[in-house]
């Protein structure tokens, strides 16, 4: 029971182990506000401890100690938090010394941050005498932990650590629903075709007992009966064949459709997700999810489930038939079944491990390839061909060794299944002969039994596969639903405000942005007039690109608002809004296709005249004409065959063609040499004319045309003004400019990220 005075403000529930103990500590009227369970001691060994913040003091039980320590709020008390390499640390100081320190693994970080926040709030309230002002917080509805701008609660994320359950597969019903009638008919056909397949063995009974055995005993063969029975055999087989064909066709078709729907839906959803999502994912992983995982599900649905259902139906029907003919023999026949199934499962289990291992080793080999082929220039430059060959050889050798081991078990597998089946048959033979000798059953019955069981013993092998294939399909389904369950962090409004005539006035009001638990932008206020050109200046990491990303609405602001012509951009439809933005990036991306296609990317129905006009304005026309097929030349895969400057001009033409009201140049000229930069600059001057422009540039000289320069430092605007004003002020901009004029980086640590990469310069033809 929780006593009344233990009101818990944070919505989290106190861990059971600490509940009683902390309750006993609370003084009358004291309220427990938040807590942190630390799991490391000062020497970083695993041990449990507990920290509590109440409205009167900080309480701690350090790991390995028995008693509690307390620090009532007083002047000078400070709780510092930092983390390094997976270990978080809290340190309590006053003006004179360090009072205490606690360590925890990074999983507890959200709770620790909450504790520090609460501590600071309480301290402030105690020192100032004012009641606690609690800011409106974005908290996880489930556990009350702060969300820190993340979509997924870092605390609750732990619960998703469970391996994928096969129940995930049930969620595929959403995709199967449109095909439910086809599925229903498929199932009916499966039932009937399996039943038809049950007929031929049954007919062996009269064939034996009424035809062959009487004949051996001297009775002539009844031709009519034989014809009838044979016709029955043939007919049943024919029906089973026809029905099997139709059902396989229908169900495969449905499975293929479901797989295709799944792929398209996933890709469609993926395209809607914000950049934030892509930031945390590897391309290869996403490609695999949409490509091979959906294929795996499709295979599972069309082949494995179908086979398994058929097998189960067959097993049930066989059991019923066998029991109806002769219960005792049926019992003996089915008795070894579980045992055989278990044996098969055992071998298959080992085999599966081996196959999985082989899969993983295979990826090792492709890793060597993926590493070496794109880096072949470096390999050759350093004459390391033999070393790479050696690496490949080594990976291949491991592959060989693993496969050898798999093959050893694999080669044993089929003979083992056969052996088990034979043993099962042997048992039936023995018991059957005994029963025949006792006149309990006829020879025909025994023959029918043998015919039945050879059928399903061989199916046991394929049935045993269902466990692992289901597991695999569940994993695949889970990975796809991971994407589908993700909600875009920049949602489209339910009732978007229509954009009519865009003037291009951008207003940032007290904009703050946090990425994870890191504050990137704080209180940015800026109004950009239509047609104005703004240059963003600052060290890398000062928030320039983040600001631009917010204006493009790749992310949404954490606090404050961005307005276009007076309307909050969150009220506009995302696609509508972005149509008014032209973006030129540091490394232009060209899609696979012709130059013309690439220029017309943002406006697929542009006329050829428009494309040429845009290319001319971007100073790209002439070099495009020099290409072997002019505007129809193929480029792509990052525009190989075009130099950095040429690619950049294509991307400028692309931005020009959509004629946006707002233009964003993110380091548009920093990956090219000065000569090319001049050409690009000419193209850019055409582009900028009359548009609201926001330009980021490392080389301050490229921003000489800017109406105003905005200097950012650590997420805040520190100076605004034109070049001359800022130089006169001798502030942050002056220092940056001086440093560049001297051709020395202000601080190598901070600016090294912006030094243009050498490889790009030499890519020209």
């Amino acid at each position: 029971m929780i006593p009344d005075n233990l009101q818990i403000v944070s919505k989290t529930i106190l861990p059971e182990a600490w509940r009683e103990e902390t309750a006993g500590l609370m003084a009358a009227g004291e309220t427990l506000l938040t807590w942190l369970e630390v799991d490391l001691d000062v020497g970083l060994r695993y041990a449990r401890g507990f920290l509590v913040v109440t409205d009167q003091r900080l309480l701690a039980r350090s790991p390995g100690e028995v008693g509690w320590q307390e620090w009532p709020y007083r002047q000078g008390l400070r709780l510092n938090h930092h983390d390094h390499a997976g270990v978080g640390s809290l340190e309590l100081h006053d003006e004179t010394a360090r009072l205490g320190g606690w360590r925890y693994t990074i999983g507890n970080n959200p709770a620790a941050l909450r504790l520090v926040d609460e501590f600071d709030l309480q301290m402030e309230s105690h020192l100032s005498g004012r009641p606690v002002e609690r800011p409106e917080e974005d908290v996880c509805p489930k556990c009350g932990a702060p969300l820190d701008g993340e979509e997924e609660c870092p605390v609750c994320a732990r619960e998703i650590h469970a391996p994928p359950s096969t129940r995930t597969l049930l969620r595929l019903w959403r995709f199967a629903k449109p095909y439910r009638w086809s599925l229903f008919w498929g199932f009916v056909l499966t039932l009937v075709s399996t039943a038809a397949a049950m007929v031929p063995p049954y007919l062996t009974i009269p064939l034996m007992d009424d035809v062959l055995i009487p004949y051996q005993n001297g009775t002539p063969i009844d031709i009519g009966l034989v014809m009838l029975l044979l016709a029955g055999l043939f007919g049943a087989s024919l029906v089973a064949w026809g029905l099997g064909w139709v059902k396989t066709y229908i169900l495969s078709l449905v499975a293929e459709h479901i797989g295709s729907d799944l792929r398209t839906t996933t890709f469609e959803h993926l395209m809607q997700l914000s950049l934030e999502y892509y930031g945390g994912k590897r391309t290869g992983d996403l490609m695999a999810r949409i490509g091979s995982e959906s294929d795996r599900i499709c295979q599972f649905l069309s082949m494995q489930v179908l086979d398994f259902t058929t097998d189960v139906l067959m097993l049930l029907m066989t059991a019923v038939i066998l029991f109806s003919i002769s219960p005792w023999l049926a019992l003996v026949t089915l008795l070894p079944l579980p045992f055989i199934a278990w044996m098969i499962q055992l071998v298959r289990d080992r085999l599966r491990n081996g196959f999985e291992k082989a899969d993983r080793i295979w990826s090792e080999i492709s890793n060597v390839l993926a590493d070496t082929i794109p880096g072949v220039r470096v390999v050759k430059a350093f004459a390391q061909e033999s070393r790479e060959t050696q690496r490949f050889r080594a990976a291949n050798a491991i592959n060989l060794a693993v496969n050898d081991r798999v093959n050893r078990i694999w080669s044993l597998f089929s003979p083992t299944v056969t052996l088990l089946t034979e043993i099962g048959l042997l048992v039936v033979w023995a018991f059957g002969i005994w029963q025949v000798s006792e006149n309990q059953i006829t020879v025909g019955v025994l023959a029918a039994f043998l015919a039945y069981i050879t059928r399903f013993y061989t199916r046991l092998d394929s049935m045993s596969r269902i466990v692992s294939t289901t597991q695999r399909a569940a994993t695949a389904a889970k990975r796809l639903f991971d994407i589908l369950d993700h909600v875009s962090s920049v949602p489209d409004p339910a009732n978007p405000v229509r954009l009519t005539e865009v003037k291009g006035r951008i207003e940032l009001r007290d904009v703050s942005f946090r990425y994870g638990n890191r504050s990137v932008l704080r209180g940015v206020d800026l109004a950009i007039e239509p047609g104005e050109m703004i240059g963003l200046v600052g060290h890398s990491g000062s928030g320039k690109t983040t600001l631009v990303n917010l204006i493009c609405r790749f992310y949404d602001v954490t606090e404050g608002a961005i307005r276009l012509d007076g309307a909050d951009i969150r009220q506009l439809s995302v696609a509508d809004y972005r149509r008014n933005i032209g973006l030129v990036l540091q490394e232009p991306f060209l899609f696979f296709g012709t130059v013309a296609d690439n220029i017309a990317y943002g406006k697929p129905h542009a006329t050829r005249q428009e494309i040429v006009a845009a290319a001319r304005a971007a100073h790209a026309h002439e070099f495009i004409l020099r290409l072997p097929q002019g505007y129809d030349s193929l480029v792509g895969e990052r525009g190989q065959g075009l130099s950095g400057g040429e690619r950049q001009r294509v991307s400028i033409a692309r931005a020009l063609l959509i004629d946006p009201r707002m233009l964003i140049l993110d380091e548009a000229t920093s990956s090219v040499d000065t000569e090319t930069e001049k050409e690009i600059q000419k193209a850019l001057d055409n582009l900028v004319r009359g548009r609201t422009t926001i330009a980021i540039a490392h080389r301050l000289s490229t921003l000489r045309k800017a109406d105003r320069l905005v200097v950012l430092d650590r997420g805040m605007i520190v100076e605004v003004g034109n070049h001359d004003e800022l130089m006169a002020r001798e502030g942050a901009y002056y220092r940056l400019y001086q440093a560049q004029a001297r051709n020395v980086d202000v601080d190598m640590d901070e600016t090294s990220g912006e030094v243009p990469r050498v490889e790009h310069k030499s890519k020209g033809r």
Partner: protein, 156 residues
């Protein structure tokens, strides 16, 4: 014995204070190993709070005893790479999987996101990264007991 061109001391706030040969004082330096896995005893940098290198130790064992103890104490407080001694159980062979392990720092559990988070170190060493980015070291697979090795083998 190597001579150092700096002095180290611990202040009341528990921070390391470095005094260079030229008399400049740097408060709150932290030791960082340059090769934490390949050669943990060689090359330890002392990084100041501004992120700049304030001192460099070529070899830890060549340091004067007092200094070495200070540095090792500080390293022990910062470095966190539990060494897996035994794997008790794994929740499943499909990832994400929760492992219950014995480490040199006590018993704990870790969540493995996927097989790709296990990195090979040399011939028989492994580095396992858990879902929070904490690295667990397996110094020598062959040094583990059979049960642990069998469990581990399913992920390799």
């Amino acid at each position: 014995m190597e001579t150092t061109d700096f002095q180290l001391a611990r202040n009341v706030f528990g921070r390391l204070v470095l005094t260079a040969a030229d008399g400049t004082v740097c408060e709150g330096v932290v030791p960082v190993r340059a090769f934490p896995i390949a050669a943990s005893g060689e090359g330890v940098a002392l990084i100041g709070p501004d992120g700049h290198e304030a001192g460099w130790i070529e070899r830890l064992e060549a340091l004067p005893e007092v200094l070495r103890q200070l540095v090792e104490e500080e390293l022990g407080r910062r470095e966190f790479m539990p060494e897996i001694r035994r794997i008790h159980a794994v929740s499943s062979f499909a990832t994400p999987s929760t492992w219950t392990v014995d480490t040199d720092r006590g018993e704990t559990s870790l969540v493995l996101w996927g097989e790709e988070f296990i990195r090979r170190l040399g011939k028989s060493g492994l580095l396992v990264e858990d879902s929070h980015g904490i690295h667990f070291l397996v110094r020598d697979i062959n040094g583990l007991d059979t049960a642990s090795r069998k469990l581990l083998d399913r992920f390799l």
